[in-house]
Amino acid sequence: MSTRLISTVNITSGSVAIEITGWTIQSTNTIDANGNGIILGDELKIESVIDDDGITVIGLNITADPIFPEWYLNLTVDIHNILDSTPVRLNRTIYYFDSNNEQKETDVPGLYDLFKIEYFDAWYNTSSGEPIPDITMHDLWPCDTVTTLESLTFDGQEYPELQGQTFCFLIVITGRHP
């Protein structure tokens, strides 16, 4: 004799989904190095990375050539929690590519050590303009948007070994269900 108990549970899960809905260059001293009268789209390029759906912006490729000692870029990026998703908390992780082109995690001091990039970011509510002191503790509800202000300055004057170098790093904003 045996008894069989069958329990069926239906689980409905909401997905976490965030996107970039806008960006603005607040200020930069990028120069018109080739003298063609164009800077944005030439010496400084910001291109959207689109998801497979052909609509959602899931990244930005930001290229600056040349940068020089005291070069800076202040950029704001709007990050939106997509409708019908769940509330999320965001955090920022920095990665760089080592000499073997392998992606490795670093942090703000590490970014300076590696590339002499002074990095600073701040967050605020896009609608109200209120600052968000700790984005990792802020619940971003569906349909809401936050803005991150990123400030990058190249402090390379005393590091001529960086001359001629090209380097890449990633700022990854991850949304997680609280």
Binding site: S15, D32, A33, L60, T63, P66, V88, I117, E150, H177
Partner: protein, 214 residues
């Protein structure tokens, strides 16, 4: 029965891993900003230098030495030392300066520092250039290689000097990225020693980048 327990023990972790992966995929999402930068820098350095004086050159110690400077590839600061300095002691210092960076640069009068209390440095600067590599070869004998202390003492600085700043173009043989700077240095009395003394004079090149207007 034992087999069933073992199977269960294997299946449960597999199930948990699968659920975990599913949950992670659905409960995280990322946006990525990829930054790609290409660096161009500003480097104006002394590639070679000489100190010529009626007072025996052997009594003047140059730092860095010629060999070291060549190995360094350039420097922004040089120094001269002597144990036989006196008020009125003079030396002509020639600097061969090159822009090794990627941006134009304006070269102006250097800065001086002397370590002997009560002794000052009188200085005059004479700028020559800018030159391409080819230009410099053709004028070498008149502004650099052919210069002797007797000529400097008798005739002063070589003719053909220009008004500073001298704008040096970026690195590259086709560019006007070289110049010569002759400096007349003379030790003057402020409230210093009357006999021979040791002197250490430091000279630092001053250059500023010329970035195109943003």
């Amino acid at each position: 029965m034992n087999n069933a327990k073992i199977l269960t023990a294997i299946l449960i972790p597999l199930l948990l891993i699968s659920i975990g992966a599913y949950a992670y995929a659905h409960f995280t999402d990322s946006v990525v900003k990829k930054y790609k930068f290409h660096v161009r820098c500003f480097i104006v350095e002394i590639k070679s230098y000489k100190a010529v004086s009626r007072y025996d050159d052997d009594l003047i110690t140059k730092n860095p030495s010629d060999d070291v400077l060549e190995a360094m590839g350039g420097t922004t600061t040089i120094s001269l030392s002597t144990d036989k300095a006196f008020i009125g002691w003079w030396v002509w210092v020639g600097l061969l300066i090159q822009n090794q960076g990627s941006f134009p640069a304006n070269v102006t009068s250097p800065t001086y520092d002397i370590n002997t209390t009560g002794v000052g440095v009188y200085h005059e600067e004479y700028f020559y250039g800018p030159y391409t590599h080819g230009d410099f070869v053709s004028v070498d004998h008149t502004v650099w290689g052919g210069i002797r202390w007797k000529d400097l003492e008798k005739y002063g600085a070589p003719p053909g000097n220009v008004t500073p700043p001298v704008t040096l173009e970026p690195a590259g043989d086709a560019y006007k990225n070289k110049m010569v700077l002759w400096i007349y240095l003379k030790l003057i009395d402020i409230d210093g020693p009357t006999n021979y003394f040791s002197a250490h004079i430091q000279i630092t090149v001053t250059a500023t980048a010329v970035y195109p207007s943003p």
